[in-house]
Structures are given as C-alpha cells and as structure tokens.
C-alpha cells in the first residue's frame, strides 16, 4: 500500500466462473498490489493447508459468507478494493453462472470496465457470449478479454491469437466490437503473468499488462459528451436559522448525473418547465464556479421556483423529453415472476411513478441471444418491455446516458427491487 493520494477512481467487474480462475485473478491483483495483509494471508495459508493444497490458494481471498461456503457457491456480488497510489479500484466480483444473470447485471451497472475471463484451453464458450452480451447490454464502455491459464497451453501464441479471432468474430456479430473498446491479454493468474508483473513467459506479447490497462482507462463514469442532468434529491430551506441571510435560502441538492453546469447558465426545471439561471453552486458552505459529472452539490437559482425532490434541473437548450410511456430492456431480479396484470413502481433518478406493463415484446436467451415470445418474466430473464406511467419521467436513452436511461422496478407489496430497466 502507499500513502499517496490516488488521483482517480475506477470501478470494474470480473466475469467468469471459479473454473476460469476468476477468484485467483482477483486474489492475485490484491496480493501483487500488496493489499493483502499478513493476518489475512496467514488465514488463507492455514485454510489452504487444511484443504491439502501445497501453494497458497489465492482464490480463498474471495471466499464469501458462511451460507455460501456451506453450499460451495457464490450467491451474491462482493465488492473488493485496492489502490496503486495513482488510482483507487472498486472490484465488483459477480458469480458467473447463468442463474446469476441478475448479479452480473447488478455488478455491471456501476462498472466502467469488465474483465471477461476465458480459459485458454477451452476458448470462447457459451458463458463467454453470455457475459459479453450482458456487459454490452449494461453499457460497460471498456472490455478486457483475459485469456487465462496460458501456463496450461505452454504460453502458446497461436492459441491466444485463435481465441482472439474467435472472440472478435462473435463480438462483431453482437455489435460489441463496433460499440466498445475491447482489449485482449494473455495471462496466467496462477503464476502472475501479465497481471501486475509481466514476467518472462510470453515475450511475444508486447501489449499492456492488466494493471497497465486498468491504470490507463478513462475513469469518468462516461466519456461521452453528455448533457447536463441534475435530479433534485432534497431541498434545503433552513428557515429556522437565526441567520437572517438564510431566510430566503432555497438550495436544490443533488448529484450531477452528467454534463457540467456553471454559475450564470440558463436552466429549466422539469417537469414543470420553469426557467431561471444558476445563481450559485455550493459544496457544503464552499462556493463553486462550476460542477461536473458525479459531483454532489447544492444549486441556487436566481428566481424563486417551486421545486421539490423528483424534479430535474437541465440546461434550457438541452432538455430531455418528459414521457409517460417507455420501452426498455428489463432484467427481472425477483423470484416472484413479473405479472403483466399488476401495477409496479418505477424509480428513475430521484423520481417515482406507478407503472403498468404494456407489452412484453420478446425475451432474450442469454446463451444463444435468440429472441423468444413470452407472456411473463422469471428471475434472470431479459426482455424488451413497454411500460405506461402515471407520472411523466425525464428520460434519455440508456445508450446516451447511463444515469437517466436506467430505472428499477419495485414491487409495492413487498417493497422489493424486482427489475432493472434500460431505456431503449
């Protein structure tokens, strides 16, 4: 570990099964960046010995809950952290099996990069297609295809090139190759080749190591030139204050989901369409001249406008549509199937609306990518669904904006989050 202040943060996810060496890869990253401390290492050494293994099994570092150990499976997304001194990393470690599509979608929703693991001995498999499709669907801009276990194919370049060609052929078919930045890397997570250290088993590979890729990838939530979107979370009116200057204070608190805003900019508050200008921007009591994507700030407007949680402040010239009907790709998350007759709640940014299901156009077989007709949705299904809304939502397409194109579906009777939607 290092004391330096990291100058950025990257969230990434790993897709693969234990068999592909996913846990070993994460263990290796944590170990080689010296994130693992001695007592943790002692613990896994003891466990490795108990299980009759000779070397320390780095995959034990990601060993989960008691409930999971009992069943020998991973049932949930785990978050892990490491830091290099130039960047802090948040890894979303999702189980790779088909029944955990919902976990992969969950992990992918906050990731800016996905590492898709392929076993060099097995090449592109059905699960590789599934993982790639989901990474694409959830809009992860950077894909790293890690061809792992190169040590078991004698570090053979031809094997790597063949897998790369196979993957690219499939990715072009999917539209992934055109839309995303894809990098390929041969590695052995077990030995550490091409993760943090290059080692000398694959001199034929001159590309970046995994850590070099991670360090170089843009950190921002999205690199697209997005329009300014500011969903209001909370309105600050400190009327009980003894300070008379604050009597008229009315601050709109929220996070800049995309774009930039500066003092003096012309803005519109949706859905009502009131127009004003930005009088001030604050972070706590500190005034700012401008704010950009992912900053949590307080915005003050020049005019007194009736605004509350759920409204959205946008630049007047680039207002999104307020719609009462949406089409979306939906991943169903709940064990209780979607019932087309029921009314659900859709939560989009800081706004909620009751929603009725219009039509389910088709569901996607995540293995073959075939579209199939269906009347309902079960857990882990992905489908194209239309919704009718009671309240207007200010939406962008998910392709254009991951923050204002996404929503969750809530079951009013249990309050559970039962679906994840990406607006088409």
């Amino acid at each position: 570990m290092t004391t330096q202040h990291n100058d950025s943060l990257l969230r990434f996810m790993t897709c693969g099964s234990v068999d592909d060496g996913k846990s070993t890869l994460i263990g290796r990253l944590l170990y080689d960046t010296k994130t693992i401390l001695a007592d943790t290492l002692n613990n896994i050494e003891r466990t490795s010995q108990k299980r009759g293994m000779e070397a320390v099994d780095l995959s034990l570092l990601t060993d989960g809950l008691q409930a999971e150990r009992e069943q020998g499976i991973t049932i949930d997304v785990a978050y892990r952290y490491f830091s290099t001194g130039t960047r802090k990393y948040i890894i979303a470690d999702a189980p790779g099996h088909e029944q955990y599509t919902r976990n992969m979608v969950t992990a992918a929703s906050t990731a800016n990069l996905a590492i898709i693991l392929i076993d060099a001995r097995k090449g592109v498999l059905t699960q590789t297609r599934r993982h790639s499709y989901l990474a694409h669907l959830v809009g992860i801009p950077h894909i790293v295809v890690a061809v792992n276990k190169m040590d078991l194919v004698d570090y053979d370049q031809a094997t790597f090139e063949k897998i790369k060609a196979d993957y690219l052929a499939f990715a072009s078919e999917l539209g992934l190759a055109q839309a995303r930045d894809i990098k390929f890397i041969p590695m052995s997570a077990l030995n550490g080749d091409m993760l943090v250290d290059r080692l000398d088993n694959m001199d034929w590979y001159q590309g970046e190591t995994l850590l070099e890729i991670l360090e170089d990838v843009p950190a921002a939530h999205s690199e697209q030139a997005e329009q300014f979107r500011f969903p209001v979370q909370f309105v600050c009116r400190p009327h009980d204050s003894a300070n008379p200057e604050l009597h008229d204070f009315r601050g709109f608190m929220g996070r800049v989901e995309s774009g930039e805003i500066a003092v003096g900019d012309a803005v519109t508050v949706l859905p009502n369409g009131y127009q004003s200008r930005v009088k001030a921007i604050q972070l706590g009591n500190t005034p700012l001249q401008s704010a950009h994507t992912e900053q949590s700030v307080t915005i003050l407007l020049e005019d007194e406008i009736d605004t509350s949680r759920g409204d959205m402040i946008v630049k007047t010239a680039e207002a999104p549509e307020a719609v009462k009907q949406i089409e979306a790709h939906v991943c169903w998350l709940s064990e209780t199937p979607l019932s087309p007759a029921r009314t659900y709640i859709v939560r989009h940014t800081t706004r909620e609306s009751k929603a009725k299901i219009g039509t389910i156009q088709y569901k996607v077989d995540v293995n073959t990518l075939e579209q199939q007709a269906t009347a309902d949705l079960k857990m882990n299904d992905i489908a194209r669904v239309s919704f009718k809304l009671a309240q207007p939502l200010m939406v962008d397409s998910y392709d254009k904006n991951r923050a204002t194109g996404a929503f969750i579906v809530i079951d009013e009777s249990t309050n559970n989050t039962v679906g994840a939607g990406m607006i088409v």
Binding site: L9, L37, G64
Partner: protein, 309 residues
Amino acid sequence: MTTKQPLSHLDWLEAEAIHILREVAGQCSNPVLLFSGGKDSLCILRLAEKAFRPGRFPFPLLHIDTGHNYQEVVNFRDQRAAELGERLIVRSVEDSMKRGTVVLKSVDEPRNKHQSVTLLEAIEEFGFDCCIGGARRDEEKARAKERIMSFRDEFGQWDPKNQRPELWNLYNARVHKGENIRAFPISNWTEMDVWQYIEREKLELPSIYFAHQRDIVMRHGAIFPVNVPLSNGGVINQPKTSEEVINMQVRFRTVGDITCTAPVISDADNVSKIVVETATTTITERGATRLDDQTSDASMEQRKKEGYF
C-alpha cells in the same frame, strides 16, 4: 468524446457518500445517524455537513452506549454534537440490562453484541425507519456483500440470501412499518481512505487514536488495556495476578467496547504519521484490534443476522 478531469478518489467517495445521505433524507421519513465518536462516524458527520449545510441535519444522532466506552471518546462525542448544534440521543446497554432485555453471562463480558438489543429498542421507541452507520465493506467478509441500503425485518435481522439488488445509484429505502433500512454511506471506503479524508478535512479525533502511554498486559497474544477508568467512576479490565502490567506507547485503530478492543504499539501521534502507519501495517484493522471477531470465521455474519449494524 471529451476528456473531463476525473474526480480524485476522495472527492469521488465524498460525492457518493453525500448522495447516499441525501437519498436517506429524501426517501425516509424518520432516519437517525449512529454516532459513536469513532473515526468512521466522525467522517460521516463531516459528510453530513457537506450534504445539508447551511440547513440542519434532517436526522438526530444516536449513540448506543455500552457503558464500556473510553471516557475520552464519550466526552468527544458530546463535544462534537454540541459544536454542530445537532440533537444527540444516547441509549445505554446498561438500561437494557436493568429492563432485563440484555442478560450478561458474566459481568465483564464484552457488550458489543448486546448493542443490537438496545439499538432495536431505540428504533422501536423513536420509530426510526433508517439508521445511518459507518460500516465499510473492507472491514470484514460479511460486510463485503452488504448493500449500501440494507434491509432489516421487524426483528432487525439481516438475511444475506434475501437482500434487495442494488443497481446504479438507484437506492430503494422503502419499508413497511416496523421494518428498517441500515444505510452505509462509506461502504466503499477503506481504512486508508478514512485516514486520508481525516487528514484532508483536518478532522479532530478522540485522543486515544493517537499514540499515548497506557498500562497493558499481554493476553491471548494480544495487547490488552488494563485498569481503564469508566465515566461512572469505576475501573474496568483488572489484570489477573499472573499477568505482568507494562506501561507502553500505544494507540487505538478502532474504538469500541473496552473489554474487546485492543490497541496497537505505535508512536504515531498525529494524523499524517497514522496515514504512513496505515500504509505500512501488515495486520488488518479488525484482525489487530477486535477480539470479538476472532471467535469464529463467521462471527460478524452471525451478529449482523441478529440485528447488529
């Protein structure tokens, strides 16, 4: 494609935590912030200032006092709440003991796990629908899978197999009456992030976080503080006759129940020295200092299921 200047990791973590605090304020009708006087909850107070000033916090502060807290920490807690001008509620495990809802196996038993009972009683008394806490996912493996907004049933129970999926930054804090949410704004922070934030924000901390002289004994391979004065005038952690009391320079990496929180040997007497020490330490925060987590591989998981935060 534009290349915007990305936020530094501390700015990003800060912005995320402020967003979470404001979601709690926006979604919940009666939230409360758990405040112990410890370093993590002190970070959250600063985040709440940035989230809600110039307004008041839209929630009171709540401390569940085990009666086994270091005086320095309790005094600091009161002082900080007063400086902020925010309401502090204290509910004590000892009151639960008097009511008979907490029954100890032995007088000097660690009381950390009994905080759950007192916390649940306070939740019921005030009708809180959300408790904001300072837990971090890097602390422990049962926490690595914890949601930022974690659902608890009427008995305060955490069911790891039945947590709400949490996607993007769309948090779902909806509950029925009697149920509640535990919200963790600094879930994604590590111990190092916390110290770097304390350094950057120049946060004041209770003195026991810094190197000081203290009487200790070695017990079960750990440094064990002895003869610790309590705020009720008593003294806790008597050494056994067979133990040799040594006066050493130590500091606490985490503050909690006196009977189960061990200090580490250290000469770090200011925050920047602690940042360096945190970077070079070879032992995890809980591994070094929390004797109650060492009883079994899954002790945190178990306590969380029972309503612990």
